[in-house]
């Protein structure tokens, strides 16, 4: 996708979030759909990246934050993500960021995302992942996946998250 196309998409997302009062809040219907798809979401995808790349034992709960950068033009989603990340700093060894690849070169996108993470105090392991493989695993938006100590997906949700959900994630990672 070209840069301008990303811009158009970003505009659309901004407007959706700005223009409709509950633009970024999920409806009951969406939540139901999510519940259905959650059962199909495999923890193996996240677990394999986590264990291959970080050498993690997989014996503790961990959180994968998936980022489609253009989604973050939605300021509500961005603030929600950054607020959650701020709260997770003390548990940084249990969190990883998976960023969907764009058409930028790998080196450039990696530099951009590292700069963005640094500027926003996100000190988690960062991986660039093909959007195709994310979508094959039913992750089409900026989301979180919480995996329990056995590697099963305990919770999978798109941003913005509710306060209750955020607190739940923080509590689970601190256990």
């Amino acid at each position: 996708m070209k840069g301008t196309s990303r811009f158009f998409l970003a505009i659309f997302l901004v407007l959706i979030c700005f223009g409709t009062e509950n633009g970024c809040h999920k409806t009951q219907e969406e939540t139901n759909r999510r519940d259905e798809s959650e059962s199909k979401l495999s923890g193996r995808f996240f677990l394999s990246i986590w264990m291959d790349s970080t050498g993690g034992s997989g014996s503790k709960a961990f959180l994968a934050i998936v980022i489609y950068f253009e989604d973050l033009s939605c300021v509500t989603c961005l603030n929600n993500l950054l607020d959650l990340s701020d709260s997770l700093q003390s548990n940084h060894e249990n969190v990883m960021l998976l960023v969907a690849r764009t058409q930028d070169t790998y080196v450039l996108q990696r530099r951009r995302m590292e700069a963005w993470c640094w500027a926003n105090h996100l000190r988690f392991p960062l991986f660039l992942v093909s959007p195709d493989s994310l979508k094959q695993n039913l992750v089409g938006r900026t989301s979180v996946a919480l995996l329990d100590s056995s590697g099963d997906v305990e919770l999978f949700e798109s941003f913005p998250l509710s306060a209750v959900l955020s607190k739940y994630i923080i509590r689970k990672l601190r256990e």
């Binding site: 840069g3 301008t4 196309s5 158009f8 998409l9 970003a10 505009i11 659309f12 901004v14 407007l15 959706i16 700005f18 223009g19 409709t20 973050l72 033009s73 939605c74 300021v75 961005l78 603030n79 950054l82 930028d104 070169t105 080196v107 450039l108 530099r111 951009r112 995302m113 700069a115 963005w116 640094w118 500027a119 926003n120």
Partner: protein
């Protein structure tokens, strides 16, 4: 012998003619000489240049959304100051610095995707902020306590697209625009102030350029011949937010100090992001020139230097421009 002399004379005539035509052709071109580059293709200095502005000392101000930073460079490219802070307090950005504009002693920077404008000193110390009526597309003509802003209207009210704001966020003047789209997503309007305190506004997805005087009265309006009237769109939902343009018609607009309008062509130009259409203030096309590299923005400072953003938005180039004398006749005083 006579045949030989005739041959030499004919050759001399051909050479002289070629020389004259060549000279004429060169006069039609805008000659660019690169004088400065800041950044590199690897993104070591800038992750993504958002916008640039130049002050009267030729200092260069650059926004970078990924680094969450505004950087100030000297005219030689040395970093002088840097600022950027995330937050919701005064002077802080929620999602990162985007468009930038200078006044005599202040800097105004919009926040990506929001209606917020942060105000800073020239040394990049925050002094305040205010909000517009919708997500900001572009800002320009920052004079004293007032600044022009184009926004995406959430209400659909076209009179809100372009307005002059005071530093406390009050709309002091609504500026009428021509042919506004009812679709909010097609209301993207690029702005550029000129040295006579006038304003140039160009739609990103519609073929329409508007020229305003210092009182924000429309003095002329024109289109780029050869480009379509409107960008093609995809309809993805009902309502004014449900249309997404597929391609961009006009990517940027800038003004040369002698009152020439430079319009950077988008996806419909022969050379997207490189073709620059040069108009006078009446809308007469004087020339189309080709930039050496693709750019996403154009900026021309008070001395006539051209600045571009190249190589995946990772570097800034400054060019000395040499215009032919015939442009002087076209200048509107």
């Amino acid at each position: 012998m006579r045949y030989r002399i005739l041959q030499i004379v004919l050759l001399a005539l051909v050479y002289v003619n070629l020389g004259l035509f060549g000279q004429t052709d060169r006069n039609n071109k805008i000659a660019l000489t690169e004088v400065l580059t800041i950044g590199d293709t690897l993104g070591s200095t800038f992750s993504e240049v958002g916008d640039i502005a130049i002050d009267s000392q030729e200092n260069i101000y650059v926004t970078d959304r990924y680094q969450f930073a505004i950087k100030k460079f000297s005219q030689n490219g040395n970093l002088l100051a840097e600022y950027g802070k995330r937050g919701k307090e005064v002077g802080e950005f929620q999602s990162g610095p985007a468009r930038i504009e200078l006044s005599d002693n202040s800097v105004a920077v919009s926040d990506v995707g929001t209606s917020k404008i942060v105000l800073l000193t020239k040394e990049l110390q925050p002094t305040g902020d205010f909000n517009t009526v919708g997500p900001i597309v572009d800002i320009a003509q920052f004079r004293g306590d007032h600044i022009c802003c184009s926004v995406l209207t959430l209400s659909g009210d076209a009179s809100e697209i372009l307005a002059v704001y005071s530093k406390n966020g009050e709309v002091t003047k609504r500026v009428p625009v021509m042919d506004p789209s009812s679709m909010t997503t097609l209301q993207v309007l690029w702005l550029c102030g000129d040295h006579m305190n006038g304003l140039i506004a160009a739609y990103g997805f519609r073929n329409r350029i508007m020229v305003y005087d210092s009182s924000m009265r429309l003095i002329s309006s024109f289109r780029v011949t050869g480009l379509p009237d409107e960008a093609p769109t995809d309809t993805i939902a009902e309502g004014k937010f449900g249309v997404v343009p597929k391609l961009e018609l006009i990517r940027a607009v800038a003004v040369y100090p002698d009152s020439l309008i430079f319009v950077l062509g988008g996806d419909f130009s022969s050379h997207p992001s490189r073709d620059v259409y040069v108009f006078d203030y009446r809308g007469n096309l004087l020339e189309t020139c080709l930039l050496p590299h693709e750019t996403g923005l154009l900026y021309i400072d008070a001395k006539g230097f051209l600045y571009t953003r190249e190589h995946d938005k990772t570097l800034i180039r400054k060019y000395r421009m040499k215009l032919s004398n015939r442009y002087k006749e076209k200048v509107v005083k």
